[in-house]
Amino acid sequence: MTVRSKDVGLFEAAINVLKDFRAVWRVFTKTLYYLFRGKREKGEIARQMFHVGNESLFFMCITMAFIGAIITFQTGLQSKKLLPDFSLMGATYLKLLVRDLAASVGALPLATRVGAGIAAEIGSMVVTDQVDALRMCAADPIDYLVVPRFIACVIMGTVILVIGGFVAYGAGMLVAFVSFDVNPHTFNNLMYLNLGDLVLGFLKCLVYGAAIAIVSAQRGLATFGGSEGVGWATTEAVVGSCFAIIVLNLIISTVGYFLVPGVGPM
């Protein structure tokens, strides 16, 4: 994009965001088209799934463990000042984790890891003309490069975010026990959780996985300017994916607030 070299005002920045959104949207619609009409390469999706999972699982487990620990600790500190009653801490934490945090907070490091990888890979293919070569070989880059990564990100992203959620829950339980003397039995309380939370959380995982793949692939395909351009594309992919995740979170959460409200069992 042209943003990189020029000083831009707020108005121009907004225009650029709209342009970027349009470009991402175009990649998304093309991806959907080729999802049903494209020519599948045997084993490519499995390879990409392994790639996504293998490169991010260890990193995500560590990150989510710390995130879980931070959240519980911080919540504990806050509630200590208000009403020092920790009996519902686990139930509240679990509901928040399922409804939002596991997906939305976990998606940010996931975007950092997976999004940067996708953009760097596709970007370096662009600057070495390989993407044009694909076009000349009757292989649309969206069909050949983006669709397998899209499917892999949606499936493996969800799997990893769910695993990360469990890790964060375990870490939270541990911190609650060590720092606030909350018995794991007390902590492990499904009282507040309902089906709506599960649906909402799961939907978020799927949407974030898709967003990471599409935004990063679009940034990768828009790469120009040699190896430095690849560096830029990587940066923009990480920031763009994180931004997309936050905007989508706002949308889904607002809709979710009105459609699946309420605390407590269904």
Binding site: D129, D132, A133, C137, A138
Partner: protein, 248 residues
Amino acid sequence: MLPPLIRLENIHKAFDDAPVLRGVDVDVPESCIYALIGMGAVGKSVLLKIVAGLIAPEKGRVFIHDEDITEMGHLELAEVRKKIGMLFQNYALFDKNVYENIAFPLRRLFDLSEEEIQERVAERLARVALPGTEERIPQSMSGGQKKRIGVARATIAKPPIVLYDEPTAGLDPVTSQKIYDLVREEQRATGATVMVISSDVAGVLTIADRVGMLHDGKLVFDGTADEARKSTIPEVRQFVHGLTEGPL
């Protein structure tokens, strides 16, 4: 005379407000080797990518077989590209072995059995004088070898149009001439329409039927190889004969 197979009309293209092409008209007749020459960074590669539909011109039209490709959506363009093979300047070979690289267009375009693919890849590799290299990784091969693999990939689907972007850049004179001969023999065998870009004028004139010279965003010369050698246009004279004195 047959109508031109590739026809460019008044092509304009600028990058970051710096005009590269400023109204280029080119006609490439069918079954002809058209050499596009010119100084570095004059927009030859851009023009070739415009013909392939990889870059959209800002102004002007591109006709292939009387179809205007500048108006097409990406699905129609993909259909047109199936008729075009292209060799890229920096090879643009994929991170696969030689066999998979050359077989790639076949796999995407046709539903062939593995035996047929093997047969055709082996025939191509023999044609480019690299038999038995199927299992090698292109990254480990020399520049000339990579170019020849690129030629094999560009021609395996027998496209009626083949575009070569600097097929000999960075190669020694002997290897260069071999590649030019290969381009010529290929064209004679298939009757394809060929566009070649080169800054190596002496070499490319040995095989070209027609020559166009791009200078300062315009086509300043269009004619046969002999006419190019005898041309009195100062830019063409200087470039074709490699003189230091002149307008370039």
